[in-house]
């Protein structure tokens, strides 16, 4: 009979951990590289509209297409003149939901500044159309009344926001600029504490003029 001699540390490990689950335990000790941002694209079964979801660390960010008619109707009902409601509705408006899903005491705050994001379409890059730009424009032209501007201000996603890991989130519209149906890439930038993070989402599609027929969206 051959007797095997193990180093003392190994003997201790063998005493503590049954051999058959040792490989699983070792898996938790192996350093893993940071995961790439996860982006999912889904089609709403009822409307056929598309949703992109980015999950990276504590950040979850959803972008959901809004049909131009939805956006037009919302702002017409809040006092927008038709020309300005049309201009806004056709500026590639998405419903955005940003959330810090991190655990309090462990995850950092997530800071977002939409002015740092980049929209790449038709060979050029620019930030999204920020609410401040629209409001400045309407403030100068007087084309939109103050109560209607107030509704726009609060219905749009904050240009700058810090989400704490205590359930903080915001909903709101973001206008990216390209025309209805256009395809574009988006660089999302955020800060987790002091660390700058970014991710490109490629092939986003501005909402089309009309709701897609569901059979067009099925594979």
């Amino acid at each position: 009979m051959i007797e095997r001699h193990y180093p003392a540390a190994t003997r201790v490990m063998r005493a503590i951990v049954p051999l058959r689950i040792l490989p699983i335990c070792l898996l938790f000790l192996v350093p893993t590289p940071p995961a790439l941002p996860e982006v999912q694209r889904q089609t709403d079964a009822q409307t056929g509209l598309l949703r992109w979801t980015l999950r990276e660390g504590p950040l979850r960010f959803d972008l959901v297409q809004r049909l131009p008619d939805q956006t037009r109707a919302f702002f017409l009902a809040r006092g927008f003149p038709k020309a300005e409601a049309d201009r806004l509705a056709e500026a590639c408006v998405f419903q955005a939901i940003g959330r810090n899903t991190g655990t309090p005491g462990q995850a950092p705050a997530v800071h977002i500044d939409l002015g740092q994001w980049r929209v790449r379409a038709g060979g050029s890059e620019a930030p999204p159309l920020l609410k401040e730009q629209w409001l400045d424009d309407w403030g100068r032209s007087g084309a939109v009344s103050p109560p209607a501007r107030l509704a726009f201000r609060w219905a749009t996603f904050p240009s700058v926001q810090t989400f704490e890991p205590r359930g903080d989130y915001n909903w709101g519209m973001i206008s990216f600029g390209p025309p209805p149906g256009a395809s574009f890439d988006l660089e999302m930038v955020w800060h987790e504490g002091a660390q700058r993070r970014s991710a490109w989402i490629e092939g986003l599609q501005c909402p089309p003029e009309a709701a897609p027929r569901l059979e067009e969206t099925r594979p």
Binding site: I24, R99, P147, L150, W154, V160, Q161, R166, D168, N170
Partner: protein
């Protein structure tokens, strides 16, 4: 071996789910507790409310609008929370941003609100508070300082959240 892997996977998934839940009903403490901006606003019944009227009490101040989905989602839990906190002397105010009584009144048929709804029709009060998106809610301590903030909706009658508000009441009330 397979059974062990499955058990470990389930255990990790459970821990992960539990961890993701723990943050959903919490409030962010505000360092140094800055003074809450004062206001004087009319309510739905024509009464006037000044924040300074509530000095000496804990006040929950919620900024909202009827068209805002997360605002609508959290309102029922705010109403339930108010029913539990009102007897403790803790006040709750819902500051509507930019809408009129004509819009809010029919809304309250579907979403009953038993605590005062204040009208900030021109948004000038909301402008002076550190609000960047709605709903945003602040818990004001008895000395009129911002003690906690919540960005986005919460389940306001969650025991963990109610305990935080009540602890503030007990700590700051002589």
């Amino acid at each position: 071996m397979i059974r062990t892997v499955v058990l470990l996977t389930l255990l990790l998934a459970g821990l992960s789910a539990a961890a993701s839940q723990t943050g959903t009903h919490l409030l962010t403490p505000i360092p140094d507790r800055p003074a809450a901006p004062g206001f004087e606003l009319r309510d739905m019944d024509g009464g006037t409310h000044r924040l300074s009227d509530y000095r000496g009490r804990v006040v929950i101040v919620n900024f909202w609008a009827t068209w805002c989905p997360p605002c609508r989602r959290e309102l029922p839990s705010m109403n339930r929370a108010w029913a539990k906190l009102n007897d403790d002397g803790i006040a709750m105010l819902a500051v509507n941003v930019g809408e009129t009584e004509d819009v809010i009144f029919p809304f309250t048929a579907d979403y009953p609100i038993d605590f005062p709804v204040l009208l900030d029709e021109d948004g000038s009060v909301t402008e002076r508070w550190p609000v960047r998106g709605i709903p945003t809610t602040f818990v004001i301590d008895p000395e009129g300082r911002i003690a906690y903030r919540a960005i986005g909706g919460r389940e306001w009658d969650d025991p963990q959240l109610l305990a935080a508000v009540r602890a503030l009441h007990r700590t700051d009330t002589p």
